[in-house]
Amino acid sequence: MNLKMVFYVLGVIMKVEAALMMLPALVSVIYKDNELLAFLIPAVLLFAIGFALSFRKPENNQLLAREGFIIVSLSWIVLSLFGSLPYVLSGEIPNFIDALFETVSGFTTTGASILTDIEALSHSTLFWRSFTNWIGGMGVLVFVLAFLPSSDTRYMYVMRAEVPGPVVGKLVSKIKVTARILYVIYIVMTVLLFVFLLLGGMPVFDSIVHAIATAGTGGFSIKNSSIAFYDSAYIDYVVSIFMVLFGINFNLFYFMIIGRVVTILKDEELKFYLGLILISILAVSLNIRSLYDGNILTAFRYASFQVTSIVSTSGFATADFTQWPFFSQFLIIILMLTGGCAGSTAGGIKIRRFLIFIKMGFVEIKKLINPRSVVQLKVDSKVQQDTLLSGIAAYFSIYVLIFSASTMIISLDAKSADTTLGSVLTCLSNVGPGFGAAGPSGNFSIFSSLSKFVLMVDMLVGRLELFPIILLFTPNTWRRV
């Protein structure tokens, strides 16, 4: 284990976070909300520690798989710890556990909140909350890879541990250029969304905050009633469409730009994702029609917003789906599990894994009927390697284990079954709203500190795709040989 290099990268990450905190500080200056110090103090602290850690680059700068995982999980923990300081220092969320929950929820793009009155917060705090969504969406380490000078070539392990999805495809030969392309696409799409929201009559500050929160598929709103506050069909549809877009593999946008349309049309994951969304919207609209006096258009508007918000794991709300019939609620649960496409900013298990998992079942059935036939699992007409398949099987088994263990601990709070199961699911999938008391109109302040802690771990585990956080607590990782 090359600990020196791990600390060096951590130092760099801390300096980056210090720089990122300057943005909410700027917001504080613009709106004169007297919270400048709440951002400046953590920023100075971060910079000082970061500077000390990354003062000298270690001679041995090798990063292998083990270091990659450790760097990713440690940096997310460090980011969250320091990211929660502004909430505590400004006194907006005085309890440290609550502040940490809010930050972890922000960085992991979950959007689950412990706040009961969001509108009481100052502008700069609101901005920082949503900004953590944006930072966490694409990942800080990818940001560091993209924009900071470094001559190291062995960062692939780091990128692999942070970018969601079972396989990470490079776009061009250099990892730095790949990361840069991804970030540029991310920024351009965020700006586009901002412009569209502005055109829909949303105030500038609200547009910025909602644009960045949507881009990261986080779902931190600045209104207690979320997007429903604006009560505009235009805004609903714009946000819905962009949530779908941010749930698509970013590589496909690049292929679109360079004109490789064939690759996009062939992409099975995309077809599955869009098909799933379409069918769910239609099914839910028909199912909830009676709630809106049989008006299918209104039902369609609310169904499409809720469905896209859940499948992209954003978690904005314009209606309370806990009031819907059970059929629709169950569809929502399934969408929470799947999440968006691999390589997007969305959370969840990822469509690609589901696709392969389902295909594994069919391959097995075919083999049972005709044992001698050659059946290979193909995605995008390419045969998938056994290592990938066993990796996905392992993913599901560990997912179930973590899900059960977390539910077990949280059920000690003696909340109702839907509240308990729903909040674990929504945190593991980085969606935001759960069911029961933690649904779209409720929040997570009802849980005990222990439960909040478990949910925080779940959010990190979900965002980093299970393995990095688990490796951190595996003794083998720290053994020398």
């Binding site: 798989a65 070539t153 062995r154 960062y155 692939m156 392990y157 490079k170 061009v172 030969s173 250099k174 990892i175 730095k176 390697q385």
Partner: protein
């Protein structure tokens, strides 16, 4: 530059290693997905699993925008086909590894009609290298710069060597010859030495000087050896064939020991002047019987690296002046270098070096000033030849006043027909050819020597 490499074997991997370090955009194609996985994990490259002959795969690899396409798959025919297709699809330069001498003989046809820019034969290159060492007295390895006017030699410092425990600045006074020690390899580490550097036993030093000064220096330190007259080669590989042929042509007696009866008969037929012996070249008694103790040079070229190393160690043990061993596995190469063998040759490293020079030359055509480049000390140190044009900002400024980068040395300057081993009072003038030795620095221009 955008470079596509098809076939990631030992040579492909060596190439990737060097080319990535030089900052090129590399795309690797290999039919084995595991190989692709590995290379993508270790290096910052783009990997594609598939057949390099396939147009779809080549298109995916961005062949239209590739300046160089290199094919190093296991098969000659595949490499040639790969290059032809890549050339037609838009690759500007193509390089193919072609082992079969029959193909290599029609290289001008291949270049003009099929569009293959460079054909490289690793076995032949290795044989050339070995024969140069055997034919050159004393040094382990000699390379030349500036159209042969400056030599770069590599020697290993034995205990008896008078250089041991001397500082570099005292050398010219002690021996009365002006040479420059430009790189020292000591215990896995490379030093670009300064004047107060002290040479120790076991160091491998790299020396630059003109040819006459170099010979004088070798005589002065007493490592001058008689030109080899009698050589034993163990193992009848293709390298052995090329090597034996070259050595016989320069009137050196060659005895070739090959295990397989069939192969030894073949070799006897194509190499009439070579004494071919059929037997196990790793058998101690057989080696003694065939006169191992009498020869001037011993070359181990069997197909098994470990055998080569052990036999070479034995040969060195009984006091043969020049012992050369072939080691194919890249990971054994470093370990083998630490042993008491005069030269360890790796065909993949030698051919990679050759390809690198070609790549550099192509890059040169794009506006860089590098004339030739040598990778020495296992590729960790570069010796680069620049031409000082009138654009150079420090013409006529003495080196004392220039604040050069660390780990960098001006090895020599060629001015007209004169070779200058520079001291602090010398300076660079227009049209000089400047040879710079540097560690871990990418030098693309003469200006790069200043921080």
């Amino acid at each position: 530059m955008n470079i596509v490499i098809a076939g990631i074997g030992k040579m492909g991997l060596t190439l990737v290693d060097h080319l990535v370090k030089e900052g090129h955009n590399i795309t690797c194609i290999d039919i084995d997905p595991k190989v692709v996985d590995n290379v993508v994990n270790v290096y910052d490259v783009f990997g594609i699993g598939g057949n390099g002959v396939s147009c779809d795969i080549l298109k995916e690899a961005g062949i239209e925008k590739a300046q160089i396409f290199i094919s190093t798959t296991h098969s000659d025919e595949l490499n040639i086909l790969n290059c032809m297709i890549a050339k037609k699809m838009g690759a500007i330069n193509t390089i193919a590894r072609v082992r079969n001498p029959e193909y290599a003989m029609q290289s001008s046809f291949m270049r003009n009609e099929l569009g293959i820019g460079l054909m490289i034969n690793p076995e032949l290159e290795t044989a050339n290298e070995i024969s140069r060492i055997i034919r050159t007295p004393s040094a382990a390895k000699i390379e030349t710069f500036g159209k042969g006017r400056v030599e770069l030699a590599e020697i290993k410092i034995e205990r008896s060597n008078p250089l041991v425990d001397k500082t570099l600045s005292s050398l010219s006074k002690t021996f009365g010859v002006r040479v420059l020690i430009c790189a020292v390899y000591r215990k896995d580490e490379v030093f670009i030495p300064t004047g107060d550097f002290i040479i120790r036993e076991g160091d491998i030093v790299h020396i630059t000087a003109s040819h006459s000064e170099m010979s004088a220096f070798f005589k002065a330190i007493g490592v001058y050896k008689q030109r080899a007259k009698c050589v034993i080669i163990v193992g009848g590989s293709r390298i052995a064939y090329y090597l034996a042929k070259q050595l016989v042509e320069s009137k050196i007696n060659v005895k070739l020991i090959e295990n397989s009866e069939l192969r030894s008969m073949e070799l006897d037929e194509v190499l009439p002047k070579v004494h071919v012996v059929c037997g196990d070249g790793t058998d101690q008694n057989l080696l003694i019987e065939e006169g191992l103790e009498e020869v001037d040079a011993f070359v181990a070229l069997t197909g098994i690296d470990e055998e080569n190393i052990i036999v070479s160690l034995y040969a060195k043990q009984i006091g043969i002046p020049t012992v050369i061993s072939k080691v194919h596995k890249t990971n054994l190469l470093d370990m083998a270098r630490t042993l008491n063998i005069d030269s360890v040759m790796s065909p993949s490293a030698i051919s990679a070096n050759y390809v690198l020079q070609y790549v550099r030359a192509k890059q040169n055509a794009q506006g860089h000033n590098v004339r030739t480049l040598y990778k020495i000390v296992n590729g960790e140190v570069e010796a680069v030849e620049f031409l000082a044009t009138d654009k150079c900002k420090f013409l006529g400024v003495s080196f004392k006043e220039l604040n050069l980068k660390r780990d960098l040395l001006i090895a020599s300057i060629i001015r007209g027909n004169k070779v200058i081993i520079p001291s602090g009072n010398d300076c660079i003038e227009q049209d000089d050819i400047v040879i710079v030795v540097a560690k871990n620095l990418i030098l693309n221009d003469l200006e790069d020597i200043l921080p």
